[in-house]
């Protein structure tokens, strides 16, 4: 743990290749460069990252035993449910967003960004801080949880409002049968199935079994992450153009909410016994917003919500914020509160 102040940590973070490749992607978009990462490559990189994270986490769980981690798992579930609920009320009653928009955005913040997680891991490892290896299992829990809670919120809120207004809205009834597809989408979407599957494979094979895959899934991880961050920068950069259109409230939300969630995550992590690194990682997960699983799920389940809101908030603001400032901030906080 070589860094001491928050500014040191941020500076250290901003000179690492991953955030810089992200900045390059944003710059390329601003310069209207033709640079484009092909779709197939993007999906390939996503599969790689998720499989690598899952394998490693699964093998680590086997090392420590499932019984040793029930506390953090329960904490994780609670976080994944509370964050979207809190977000919903803030957006609905302070931000005056529609039910649909509030619920859809809330679901994104309840879910989690695997790439932010990966970048945080690299940040910590560059400071020789080792978080609990099994934490990537929490990614697999948080990703679908947030999405499902967000969609449930929309359903419940619509039901409540319909009753208050004494109306019988046909379209809501029509979609009562949608809970199954929602759960299905959330649990079998590309992200969840690879993450969960690789976790189980890592658990079954154990550290010895997955050792043969280490040169691929382990050693290359940081380099591959650089290419991925470049692509993320290209995608996020295109969202920047829409930032002004989403309004001041959502911009503020997309910066303050991760700080609040991240702080809560760090505190919860420390109290359930995680190390400084582990508490940082739980903070990062709480603070990060999904942009892979959640947008597609929301588009299917809450088509009335305006995608521009949730994509711009999670991808155009929260993601860059966490990459540049959030990660060192949660680490600094964890060290401040729980560091020896």
């Amino acid at each position: 743990m070589v860094d001491h102040t928050l500014l040191d940590a941020i500076g250290h973070n901003l000179t690492a290749p991953m955030p810089l490749f992200f900045a390059l992607g944003i710059l390329a978009t601003l310069l209207r460069s033709e640079l484009k990462v092909p779709d197939a490559l993007y999906i390939g990189l996503t599969l790689y990252l998720l499989a690598a994270i899952g394998l490693h986490g699964g093998a680590e769980i086997r090392e420590v035993g499932i019984t040793a981690i029930w506390m953090p798992i329960v904490a994780c579930f609670l976080l994944g449910s509370m964050i979207p609920i809190a977000s919903y009320f803030i957006l609905r009653y302070m931000g005056k967003f529609s039910i649909h928009d509030s619920a859809a955005i809330a679901g994104h913040y309840g879910s989690v960004s695997a790439v932010t997680f990966a970048v945080a891991t690299q940040f910590l490892s560059s400071l020789q801080v080792k978080p609990e290896g099994y934490l990537s299992a929490f990614l697999a829990i948080l990703e679908p949880t947030g999405v499902v809670v967000g969609i449930l919120l929309a359903r419940i809120a619509l039901q409540v409002e319909t009753q208050q207004h004494g109306e019988s809205d046909g379209s809501v009834k029509n979609r009562a049968g949608w809970i199954r597809p929602v759960l299905h989408e959330a649990l079998t979407g590309t992200g969840s199935i690879i993450l969960l599957g690789a976790l189980v494979i890592g658990y079954i094979s154990g550290q010895d079994g997955i050792a043969v895959t280490k040169p691929f899934f382990g050693d290359l991880f940081k380099g591959v992450l650089c290419l991925f961050m470049l692509e993320m920068g290209l995608v996020a950069g295109r969202r920047l153009a829409e930032v002004r259109a989403v309004g001041a409230f959502l911009i503020a939300f997309a910066i303050c909410m991760p700080i609040i969630d991240g702080t809560i995550g760090v505190l919860v992590g420390g109290f359930v016994g995680l190390s400084v690194g582990g508490a940082t990682m739980l903070g990062v997960m709480a603070a990060s917003a999904s942009y892979i699983a959640a947008p597609a799920a929301m588009r299917i389940s809450i088509p009335e919500a305006n995608p521009s809101f949730y994509l711009t908030a999670s991808l155009g603001i929260t993601f860059p914020f966490n990459i540049a400032m959030g990660i060192p901030l949660y680490f600094w906080l964890a060290k401040l509160v729980f560091g020896s």
Binding site: D39, S171, L234, V235, P295, A296, R299, P307, S308
Partner: protein
């Protein structure tokens, strides 16, 4: 060369609607379809740049009879939320009809 008149119905919509639309056209009586990827699109719902899954589109081609085309369009109108980006158009074509392979050959 025996040719038959039919309707070529083209539907361009969001990638996430693919399972829904496949099921819909089959239910309305289509006997076949062809799906192509759309690189990018622009319309009333703005730019669909094709980067995120929620931003991608696809195109479905259907050779159908006039009544089936009408039923598909009506069912789209009825069952799909108006918020989905969707474009559909049709026109008449002449379709090649082949003598099918004799069974067991």
């Amino acid at each position: 060369m025996p040719m038959e008149k039919a309707i070529l119905l083209t539907i361009i919509t969001e990638r996430v609607m693919e399972p829904t639309l496949k099921e819909l056209v089959e239910r309305m009586g289509a006997q076949g379809y062809t799906i192509e990827d759309v690189a990018s699109g622009w319309g009333k719902h703005g730019n669909r740049t094709g980067e995120l899954e929620s931003d991608q589109s696809f195109k479905m081609l259907l050779i159908v009879s006039t009544p089936v085309a009408r039923r598909i369009l009506q069912e789209i109108e009825r069952s799909l939320q108006p918020e989905y980006a969707i474009t559909a158009f049709q026109h008449e074509v002449e379709v090649m009809t082949r003598v099918p392979a004799s069974p067991g050959s």
